[in-house]
């Protein structure tokens, strides 16, 4: 997605708007807000936002930084959720082990699907990932352990580190918060590593990256696997939080939803997907009384976002900062 008005922070760094000090203060304030949030807002809502924020940030690694539109990320979210749920409920695994297993399954799935999908580029890549995700959906409908239409119910939350029961509202929140911060840190480090710069060069001009000697397919595949794995981490954690896993998490609507979050928040920005996740989850939460209109409203937001708001909230904020530096 080259030339789409993605705002690299480099200009802002050069202009002195972003300094290392300001950046550190910003992240410290955000982390502090995250730690205090459950005292002000309903924790289950917040945990849902955190899981979806991690999901969208992982997705953004592909769309925003590598220029690959995966239309099948729900496959990783959902399959990790099912595996983790099954491991905790039926096998009685410890919470962390269950989450790790779910993440691992999503990672392997990412390796298989990604390996096939990167053989085509552009719009075909989107269609292929969508197709494989639909395949995973049908598998989830048919496999006995997923519970089909009923879903997987009554997943126990277990204890963190085998010591702290995750039943209270705050213990679970801080567990999810730590998972989110870990995942977010991995994404942040990936983006700002030499590897991340190569990804961006692929996004901007793939033939040129290839001619400079980078094994483009390999970079794409690694990015896809990281993204799938972290999407799995988000899905596994979500299953523990909500204590159930259903077909909605592997449905193509979910794959579209994560695109919307990333688009609304600002693709190719570090904070954008999280902001987008907050907006979309809040929207679904507060509009749930409208029934079928929610889908229509989400569709309208999608259309307006694509037509007139392609930079997203964070992208627009960066543009404003550029025009009126603090």
């Amino acid at each position: 997605m080259s030339g789409t008005g993605i705002h690299e922070p480099r200009t802002l760094i050069r202009m002195g708007v972003i300094t290392p000090r300001r950046k550190a203060i910003f992240f410290a304030v955000m982390a502090g807000l995250g730690a205090l949030a459950p005292f002000a807002v309903y924790p289950v809502f917040l945990m849902n936002v955190l899981c979806m924020a991690l999901f969208a940030s992982a997705f953004n690694l592909l769309l925003g930084y590598t220029g690959l539109l995966s239309f099948g990320h729900a496959a990783f979210l959902g399959s990790a959720g099912y595996v983790t749920g099954h491991a905790l409920k039926v096998w009685g695994w410890p919470t962390e082990a269950g989450i790790l297993l779910g993440t691992l399954v999503a990672t392997v799935l990412g390796l298989v699907i990604g390996g096939l999908a990167i053989r085509r580029s552009g719009i075909y890549f989107a269609m292929i990932t969508l197709g494989f995700a639909q395949m995973i959906y049908f598998v989830a409908v048919q496999l006995p352990f997923t519970g089909g239409e009923d879903g997987l119910q009554g997943i126990p939350r277990g204890k963190a580190l085998g010591l702290f029961p995750l039943e209270g509202r705050y213990a679970m929140y801080y567990f999810v918060y730590v998972v989110f911060l870990l995942g977010f840190y991995v994404i942040y480090r990936t983006i700002h590593s030499p590897f991340g710069h190569v990804l961006r060069s692929i996004r901007e001009n793939e033939p040129r990256a290839l001619s400079l000697g980078y094994d483009v397919d390999r970079y794409k595949l690694v990015a896809f696997v990281i993204s799938a794995g972290l999407a799995g981490l988000a899905g596994a954690t979500k299953a523990v939080v909500l204590q159930f896993e259903t077909l909605t998490d592997v449905h193509w609507h979910k794959s579209g939803e994560v695109v919307l979050m990333t688009l609304l928040g600002g693709m190719g920005t570090v904070m954008g997907p999280s902001a987008g996740a907050l907006i979309v989850v809040a929207m679904e939460n507060y509009l749930s009384g409208f029934g079928d209109w929610v889908t229509v409203i989400i569709g309208c937001v999608f259309v307006v976002g694509v037509l007139a708001f392609r930079r997203g909230f964070v992208g627009e904020a960066a543009r404003l900062l550029k025009s009126f530096p603090i």
């Binding site: 494989f132 049908f138 229509v296 999608f302 694509v306």
Partner: protein, 287 residues
């Protein structure tokens, strides 16, 4: 044996719809460079227009076969003129996202209005009944669907490959700027092509109405399979999309006979194999 031929017939009919829909997708993608996610939703809209026409306006199947695609085509023209047009200078992923949003809107609206349950559409009188072929029973309407779909596909192929209008279309696919320099109104051509492509989807919808239940979700699962069909066949050739569509429908029918649980996933499994062996698709050219 009866069961095998029965499933193959179902497969042939599904395949005819795959062919009709992937043909429309290919024509649109060729000239307009947009992968129309809303194709499935517009197929559903076509079926619903026919059903609404019959149940509340008393318009029968035969007029609906013409009117419903026309209405869907007009809808497509409006979408292209007001929205899609603004995205042409951007990456074509945005076209996919826009039409995805439109899909949610269309499906949500029909869902709200008509609920989730299917509505049945009666087979027109002239096509009721069927004949026993000895090895299987062939309902007249199903034979009609297969015949007409193939006829429409062939007619589209003929227009595009053998007429002057088709020559413009192919020239526009290769190099729209040069074609415009020769004095052809390319933007208008793009609008009409999009309209024609989605009208084909609407037409498929009307054809499907008496076979499947008319419901708001009838298009979305279909379109994802059609995308896989398009990946397998490649969007390069019209002939290719027809053959791939019908062929995959038959394979699906065969799978339903041999091992029913795999019937829903077999097309995607084939897609995986094709990506491994021939990434550009069976009939595609690597760009």
């Amino acid at each position: 044996m009866q069961a095998l031929f029965g499933q193959l017939l179902v497969g042939l009919i599904n395949g005819s719809f795959y062919a009709l829909l992937s043909l429309g997708l290919s024509i649109i993608f060729g000239l307009v460079n947009v992968v129309n996610f809303a194709h499935g939703a517009l197929y559903m809209t076509g079926a619903f227009f026919a059903w609404i026409g019959l149940s509340s306006l008393g318009i029968g199947y035969w007029p609906a076969l013409l009117l419903s695609p026309l209405a869907v085509g007009v809808l497509g023209v409006v979408v292209e003129r007001t929205m899609l047009r603004r995205l042409y200078q951007l990456d074509n992923l945005y076209g996919l996202l826009l039409t995805f949003g439109l899909t949610l809107i269309i499906e949500g609206l029909f869902h709200h209005q008509y609920g989730n349950s299917g509505n049945s559409f009666p087979v027109p009188e002239a096509l009721q009944g069927g004949s026993n072929l000895g090895f299987m029973y062939l309902p007249k309407y199903r034979a009609w669907v297969v015949l007409v779909s193939l006829l429409v596909c062939f007619a589209s192929w003929f227009v595009i490959e053998r007429t002057k209008l088709g020559a413009y279309l192919r020239a526009g696919t290769e190099n729209p700027r040069l074609l415009q320099a020769f004095g052809v109104n390319v933007p208008l051509m793009m609008t009409l092509t999009f309209g024609f492509g989605v009208a084909l989807a609407g037409f498929a919808g009307v054809m499907a109405a008496p076979i499947y239940q008319v419901s708001p979700s009838m298009g979305s699962s279909l379109i994802i399979v059609v995308f896989a069909v398009v990946v397998i066949g490649g969007m390069g050739s019209i002939f290719g999309s027809i053959v791939t569509g019908v062929g995959l429908g038959l394979v699906e029918g065969l799978t339903k006979y041999l091992y029913p649980p795999a019937a829903a996933t077999v097309v995607f499994a084939i897609m995986a194999v094709v990506l491994l062996l021939r990434p550009a698709g069976l009939f595609g050219r690597e760009k």
